[in-house]
Amino acid sequence: MRLTLDQQSAIRSAVAETFGNAANIWLFGSRVDDNKRGGDIDLLIETSQSDVAAIVRAELAFLTKLKMKLGEQKIDVLVDYPTRHYIPPIFTIAKQTGIQL
């Protein structure tokens, strides 16, 4: 995985502050591969919240906090929540191939 320990803990604490302690986080995509360089930080966050308005606010607050900690970075976030009507395949793949933080 190509994230420093500081970056990992920044992600974990920003998720905890915005989605709560129970949320699960996976890093997936190119940052999982030690042989690549640079690239977006792709994250999947799994929450038990089901109010979409609250989820959108949490996602925004999360991105804002994380960017203030890590500086301007390309961070892509997927959020899995129980009331989603449709789960695109990328969610399953992210969990299968990703690393849980």
Binding site: V52, A53, I55, V56, R57, L60, A61, L63, T64, K67, M68, G71, E72, T83, R84, H85, Y86, P88
Partner: protein, 169 residues
């Protein structure tokens, strides 16, 4: 009429902001008839309503870009603060310290709302709707940021002529 370049730059950036504010709130006045959106209403918007939403997104984006990319740098230049080649975050922190921005975090939040427009979730209309609702609310924050900057400018530089910002209820 002044020939002072920093003043002209600032006035020019301000005028551009005014133009975007006008069109942003014009779009919002149409949108008021059908918001807050739900996943269902979002999926069933009329062509006219989609145009209103698109206009809103365009002006929100432009206003955000103009404030961050032109107005804020122009204010620092006007104040003769040597921040031209510094990263954006340094400029923002400086402006917050000087009282031209209330909260850098709030600014970054609105910035991220603007960036989220790039994402469309075709599989998740509920989320699209929630994101737009949040953006509609945030138009007021963007407007408040302009008010903060202009109030401060007028207080410190009474001779500076800035256009009058459209008032919104």
């Amino acid at each position: 009429m002044t020939d002072d370049i920093p003043t002209l730059r600032l006035q020019d950036a301000w005028r551009e902001c005014e133009r975007h504010v006008y069109h942003l709130f014009h779009a919002l006045s149409s949108i008021r008839t059908f918001w807050p959106l739900t996943g269902e209403t979002y999926a069933n918007l009329s062509d006219e309503q989609v145009q209103d939403v698109d206009q809103f997104i365009l002006r929100f984006t432009k206003l955000q870009d103009t404030i961050g990319g032109r107005l804020f740098p122009a204010i620092l230049h006007y104040l003769t603060e040597p921040f031209e080649d510094r990263p954006m975050i340094d400029k923002l922190n400086r402006l917050e310290k000087l009282g031209f921005i209330d909260s850098v975090e709030r600014w970054q939040m609105v910035r991220n709302i603007r960036n989220q427009f790039a994402h469309d979730y075709p599989d998740d209309p509920d989320k699209n709707a929630a994101q737009l609702n949040l953006a509609f609310e945030s138009a007021r924050d963007l407007y408040a940021m302009l008010t903060t900057a202009s109030t401060k400018l007028k207080a410190e530089y009474p001779a500076l002529e800035l256009g009058k910002l459209l008032s919104v209820e």
